[in-house]
Structure formats: C-alpha cells, structure tokens
C-alpha cells in the first residue's frame, strides 16, 4: 500500500498538514503552493529506501504495510537519512532531538483506519492504496474520455457530412 500523490488535484487547503499536526504534534506533510498549482509532499516510503540503506544503527525498518519507520530508540540523530533522502523528508523532532518523519499513521493503521491526511484530503490529492489499482482507475477514466471524444467526432460527421 502506498500513499499516492495525485498530482494536479491539490487545492493547497492544507487540511493534510493540520490533520497530521493534530495527530502527531508536528506536521510530517508539507504543502507547497505555486502560482498555478500545489504539491503536497511527505515521505514516499520508497521501495529501495536510501534512508534504510544508510542508517548506521539500523534504526529504519519497513513494516507490514510497507511503511518506512524510524525507531526512535535506535536513532542517534546523525541525520544521514535526511542527507540521502531524495525528497528531504526526515527532520529534527524539536523535543526529542532525533530524526522524525511520517510513519504513515502507524497507530491509525493498527486500528484499521486510513492515514489521517489521506482520510481528510477533500480532493483525493492524497489516496492510500495499491498503486496498480489507483492507476487502473485513472486509466479507465482516460479511456472513457477517449470514447466520449470519439463519439462526438462521429456525431459531427453524421451532422455535417
């Protein structure tokens, strides 16, 4: 399961940030707003996570859902994970002074709930699921649009010859 970012659907409402902050005390997702679009960004829970590779104490592990989790007991605060992360995700927890990041709402998942940001996101800019299923859904919609355009074209030919 992945927390997929549906690029081009974000309205920069920051409900995800506020929700994450309510749940974890810090927001582990950041929304960047530009003149013509916005991008929400949190940990991508990479398949070949550089952070897992580099961590000298093996503090970073993958859980059953595929979430990449930092174990704060083992973390020594060297921030090599931050250094190698392609999205600049791990940050300093201001209280514990250790590396922290999104854990895909581990507590919520244990209770069978969705990660909170995906749960609240009004536009489905964030969705939690299997990438292939999400892609299948999107592809089907693209196919429907092709058919619609095709039908319109045929109608026009029938009308105007």
């Amino acid at each position: 399961m992945k927390l997929f970012i549906n690029l081009g659907r974000c309205i920069a409402c920051k409900a995800c940030e506020v929700a994450c902050e309510k749940e974890h005390g810090i927001s582990f997702i950041s929304v960047y707003e530009f003149e013509d679009m916005a991008v929400p960004l949190n940990c991508r829970h990479c398949e070949k996570a550089p952070c897992i590779e580099v961590c000298p104490t093996n503090a970073i592990k993958r859980d059953g859902d595929g979430a990449v989790i930092i174990n704060e007991e083992k973390c020594i605060g060297c921030y090599m994970c931050s250094a190698v992360c392609p999205y600049a995700i791990p940050i300093v927890d201001p209280i514990k002074e250790l590396a922290v990041k999104c854990n895909l709402c581990a507590d919520r998942r244990k209770e069978g709930n969705l990660p909170l940001c995906a749960s609240v996101c009004p536009t489905d800019a964030l969705v939690f699921g299997e990438i292939n299923e999400i892609m299948e859904e999107k592809r089907k919609r693209k196919a429907e649009r092709i058919v619609e355009a095709q039908r319109k074209a045929i109608e026009k030919i029938a009308l105007f010859g």
């Binding site: 659907r9 309205i11 920069a12 409402c13 920051k14 409900a15 940030e17 506020v18 929700a19 902050e21 309510k22 003149e35 013509d36 679009m37 916005a38 709930n113 749960s119 609240v120 996101c121 009004p122 536009t123 489905d124 919609r141 429907e144 649009r145 619609e148």
Partner: protein, 674 residues
C-alpha cells in the same frame, strides 16, 4: 468517560459532519464520520472546529457597561433591564426605532425566535448578514425562478457536462465541494471560471475569464448574444417553461463579444468559446458567490446568470441548476426563517401576514417591509433607530466602511450583543450576553443545498453561557410574549407549522435521519426534494421569468487620485471576521497575517518588493499590510483578504434593489510604508 457525538461543522454552508470526541464531557478531538455530504472529508477549519470552544476569551457571564467599564451582572437582571429598555424605547419612539440583527451562524430555531420577537414587538426591522452576501441572489432568483435557493443538489455536480463558476472560489471557501467539482472534471465536464483573479479554483479551469471588476453583466450578455445568434439555446425549454425571451433578444443584441471585450477586457474569441462550450454541453450548472453578488448591480448580475441558465434549459433537470453557494453554516436557514425585513418564515410576504398572525395568535403583524442592515446602520447614525439587538454578528468587521458603522453604534440608546466572544462590535454594547457555541447546544441548520440537519449537543457551555434560543426565550417572556417553549424541539415543531417548506421536518426525523432532509418537504412521510423547478417554477404562473439587464459600471472607478481598483477575497484557513478561526493556533500559524496581492508590473512601478509593508487608501479609510507580489492578480487591481479588517476600505454604496453593499469594487491608491 469517552464519548463520540455526531457534530455539524460551524463554519461554511457545505454542511459537513464529523464526530466530536469528548472525555468526561470535555472536547478532545475531531474524528472522521464516514458519511454525510462531505463523505468523511474535512477542510482545515472543520478539523480545528474544537479549538476555539474552550478558549480563555469565551464570554461566560452577562456584562453591563458602566462608568468603570464592563461589569458582571446576573442573567435575571440583564434580561429584565434589556426588556424594560426595549419596551421603553418602543413606547416612546414607536416600534420602528428598534432593530434586530439575526445570525447566519445560529440555528433555525434561534433565527425563528429572534424574528418572531421583532415582529411581535411591531417591527420588521430584522435582517442578518445574508444582506452582505446573497441578498442580491434572494432578490434576483425570487423574480426569475421564484425560489431563492440552490436549485439542485451537490450530487448534480458530477453529472454536469459543464460548470460555470462565477465569482466563486470553492477551493478556498468550500474546499470539500471541490471534491464534487473535480469528480465532474473526471467525468469529462468542462470548467469555466469567471474571476478577476487566477484563483485556486481557476487552476482547474478549461477556460478562465479574468474580467475587469464589476463587468459581469456585459460578459453574461455577450455569452447570451452568442448563444442566441448561433441558435444554441434550448428552444423547447424556452418556449414551454419561460417568459420574456423576446425582450432578452433585444437587450443582448448590442452586446457582441467585441463590444463586451471593450468593457470586460476579455478577448472576444474567448467569450465566444465560453458561450459555445457552455451552451452545447447539454447539462450545465452555474455556481456563484460573493464575486458576483457584492456589487451595486448585484441583483442584475444574478438575473443575468439566471437568464443564461434558463435559455440553455439548465434548470430542474439532472446535472443542471442555478447554484448560489452559501457561505455560512446557516445562511440558507436564516433566510428561510424570515430573518429578513420583507418576508416571514418560509418567504411569506410581510404584506400578507394573516396566516402567520393566526398561528401566532395575534390580531395582526407589521405589514410594511422593514429596514435592511445598511439602512439600520444609517438610521442609527441619523438617530432614528434607538435600540439594536445583535445576535452573533460582528458588523464592525463584516460591514463596509467600518468608521461609519462604529459612529452609528455609538449613537444608540441601547445596544445588546449576544455572542461567544467579545467581538469588535461587542465593545460598543451596553449589554453583552454570553452565548453557547454550536457544540454546546441543539437545533437545526440548513446547508447550501437546502439540507436541514440536526446539530447535537456534545458539551456544556462554559460557566453561565446559554444557548441563543434559551436567551431569546427568556427575553421573549420578559417582554410579555407567550414564549413558553419547553425545549428547542418545540420551536422546531412550530417552524414546521409556519414555514410551508419545512412542513414535514420534525425534530424526531432530523435526529433519526442524521444526514438531513432537503426542503421543500411538504409532509412527514415526504423524503425531501433533491431538485427544484422540475415541472414548474415557484412563480405564480409556474413559468420562469427571463429578465434582461443592462450593464452598469461600478460606483467607483479609478481616477488620478485613486488609480487602482480594489477587491476583497477570503483564504481557506480563516473564516470571515476570524472570531472563531482566529483563535485556532493551527490556523493562525498558517493563515495569520494580513496581506495584499499586487501584480509584479504594478509593484515594480511603485518600487514595492515582496513582503514590504504597504498602505492602501480609499475614500473611506486606510489599511496597512504586507505586499504579496503575484501574477494571480491582474495589472491595476489590488486584492485583499478581508478577515483582518480590510473593510475600513470598502464601499458602502448599495445595490438599489437588494441593498447589498459593493464590497467587491473600490478605487484605491497604494503607498509604500517607509
């Protein structure tokens, strides 16, 4: 003990549900309710809707102004003194020296009771802030289609093939509704956005028309010109269901896209493209909000959009409709309850109040339409309104021309403010009554799609604060009225008797069907109505009136002294006067600072850098904030969010029909603050 109580969002008019989790009676967090119109989704305001409830600034005791400032007094004493003063003023100056501001933030029951008090005291001087948002919609739709409400449901949106979003920015003001809009786009709908700013909603537009401020009618007329010339209108619908089409043809004749280009600044070819896209889609919805309504031609603007929808046959069918989008959680309900100077509950005209008088058990009710909010403020200024009772409104920040409002409030012999915080307005009150917030009381609220939902009580109000309906019950009794309601449900039941649209909406049903009932609901076994105007319109002869309108420029245009145009808007993380949202840390941290948008070219000319402090000056006042340089706004225009007091700048000139002020256009100049 932990408890989950179903909550209803106190912010916008969408009508979102969530759970309020309490621990030993205290609110702890918002949890997701996987249902309702929001389908479990929430915006940042909904997510923080508990933050202000237990804030230290809450009003907890009735206060009375004395020489030494505000002093606490008992409820009994406060109500007694207020009632005596109201009666004294009425007897001395007549009932029309009294004014009442009801509230789109309060329940149906509370609005119902306040307007009932006003009318039983003999005046129709009762109004609420719909005057400042959709008064022009109420007037414009009443004349054209006969019902001042969203004609379809949110569910119609994904079924539409074109959405014309006019002067409305749901990405900031109704984020959850964007879900329905993007679903329509997924289904292949074209999106046309009309807005002078490139709003976040415009990010999703296939066609964005950034018109000059206040030129809406010229644009709508030009679109209709194209639709008529190219014979793209719905002939069957126009001839069988409407009247007045011939007059429209004559009026829009001169509005060629080229002519409209000169007025609106939108290239003629884009106007054509938008018109053709809209008319040929087959199913379309027009949505609008303050960018359309807050103009001196507000009522005309609404009529023009109604005309446009009507000639395309986009009313009363699946995936179509005229959608005025409601900004407050109960602005629809406050209108339905007759918290308006010209109508009684259920839009029954005050000129014909016999039926209601009978139910209320009185001989007669005042039959002259009363004064609107801006008129009450003006009359208070002139000394004709002596007493003003304000429930849950903050005109000092929400109304145009702040200075004038404050001067008017200072003239009053009696100003009572009933609220949850000491608002900017309450500072001028003689009596302040502490009210319960949404989660601390019960009652019904009506969302934008005419959906009436029950608001359950989750927690107790702080200290002595009381639900507004209870305060009004005490006041009513002290005024000698027969206000022996035992519970809020008694009021809900009386509403069902008085307002025909609410006939079958009982408290029992609302508590059982927590997803609500859409009015009109004529009987207890009626499921409610998803769509209005399906077979006939709510006009006397059942036909819609197509009412052509001519373009008229805004009241203030730029000149040498004030070379810029000024408009206002809202941001997603604050709400109106920020009384509630301004008390959430999560929100103020992200949306805490006033700013003004200015185009890079204008900024360069004025030598302003991003983040520098600027002063905006209009004929009415001046306002300082940071400059935000962005191409989102066109050259010559300045845009300011109004949450932080920008209404010192705005124009209080009124639309003559609906008496809505022209918030959206002023002339201004910009100075760098050294």
């Amino acid at each position: 003990m932990e408890k989950l109580i179903l909550g209803l969002c106190p912010y916008c008019g969408m009508g979102c549900r969530f759970y309020i989790k309490t621990l030993n009676g205290e609110p702890v967090e918002i949890e997701i309710y996987e249902g309702g119109v929001n389908e479990g989704k929430l915006c940042p305001k909904g997510l923080t809707a508990l933050d202000f409830l237990r804030h230290n600034d809450r009003l907890t005791k009735p206060l009375k102004r004395t020489e030494n400032g505000f002093e606490e007094i008992s409820w009994e004493q406060a109500i007694k003194e207020i009632a005596e003063k109201i009666l004294e003023i009425r007897d001395k100056y007549g009932p029309d020296a009294l004014g009442f501001f009801s509230s789109a933030r309060c329940s149906n029951e509370e609005n119902y009771l306040l307007q009932k008090i006003a009318r039983l005291l003999g005046t129709n001087n009762v109004d609420h802030c719909a005057r400042l948002c959709h008064a022009s919609t109420v007037a414009g739709l009443a004349q054209t289609v006969g019902a001042a409400a969203q004609s379809g449901s949110y569910d119609d949106i994904p079924k539409a093939k074109v959405l014309l979003i006019w002067g409305y920015n749901p990405a900031e003001t109704h984020p959850v509704l964007m879900r329905y809009i993007l679903r329509a786009k997924d289904n292949g709908a074209k999106i046309i956005v009309v807005d002078p700013r490139k709003t976040k909603t415009a990010w999703f537009a296939d066609i964005h028309l950034p018109l000059r401020l206040g030129t809406d009618i010229a644009l709508a007329n030009a679109m209709m010109h194209v639709i008529i010339k190219e014979r793209l209108y719905d002939k069957k619908f126009v001839f069988s269901r409407t009247k007045g089409f011939e007059k429209l043809i004559k009026v829009v004749e001169e509005y060629t896209p080229e002519y409209a280009e000169k007025i609106t600044g939108i290239p003629a070819h884009l106007i054509r493209e938008a018109a053709v896209t809209f008319a040929t889609a087959g199913r379309g919805i027009i949505m609008w909000a303050m960018g359309l309504t807050q103009h001196i031609t507000g009522t005309g603007n609404v009529k023009a959009l109604a005309d446009l929808g009507l000639i395309c046959g986009y009313v009363g069918k699946e995936g179509t409709g005229l959608f005025p989008m409601r900004g407050q959680n109960n602005v629809q309900g406050a209108c339905d309850m007759g918290a308006l100077p010209n109508v009684l509950p259920g839009y029954q005209k005050v000129t014909d109040g016999k039926r209601v008088a009978e139910i209320w058990g009185v001989e007669e009710l005042p039959s002259e339409p009363g004064l609107t909010i801006p008129e009450i403020i003006n009359k208070a200024h002139e000394g004709e309104i002596k007493a003003l009772y304000i429930m849950g409104e903050n005109p000092v920040v929400s109304d145009p021309n702040t200075k004038h409002v404050i001067e008017a409030l200072k003239e009053l012999e009696l100003l009572v403010v009933q609220d949850i915080f000491l608002t900017e307005t309450a500072k001028y009150a003689h009596y302040i009554l502490p009210a319960a917030a949404y989660a601390e009381k019960e009652g019904s609220f009506t969302a934008s799609e005419r959906r009436v939902q029950w608001n359950f009580k989750a927690i107790e109000p702080p200290e002595e604060a009381k639900p507004d309906w209870e305060i009004l019950r005490m006041l009513g009794k002290a005024l000698g009225l027969k206000f022996d309601y035992e519970s809020v449900e008694d009021v809900t039941r009386e509403i069902a008797l008085v307002a025909p649209q609410y006939r079958g909406i009982t408290p029992e049903r609302l508590k059982r069907d927590v997803e609500g009932i859409q009015w009109p609901c004529p009987s207890e076994d009626h499921p409610g109505t998803k769509r209005l105007h399906v077979e006939s319109f709510a006009t006397p002869d059942g036909k819609a009136n197509i009412i052509p309108v001519e373009f008229k420029p805004p009241a203030e245009l730029p000149d040498e002294e004030y070379p810029f145009m000024l408009t206002t808007f809202r941001v997603v993380g604050q709400y109106h006067t920020a009384t509630m949202s301004g008390r959430s840390k999560a929100l103020t941290k992200r949306w805490g600072e006033a700013y003004a948008e200015i185009n890079p070219k204008d900024a360069q000319k004025l030598g302003i850098e991003s983040g520098e402090k600027i002063r905006i000056v209009t004929r009415r006042g001046s306002y300082e904030c940071k400059a935000k340089i962005t191409k989102r706004i066109g050259e010559g225009v300045i845009g300011v969010p109004w949450h932080w007091g920008a209404n010192v700048l705005t124009n209080d000139v009124l639309d003559p029909e609906a008496k809505i002020p022209e918030f959206k256009v002023s002339a201004c100049r910009v100075e760098k603050v050294m």
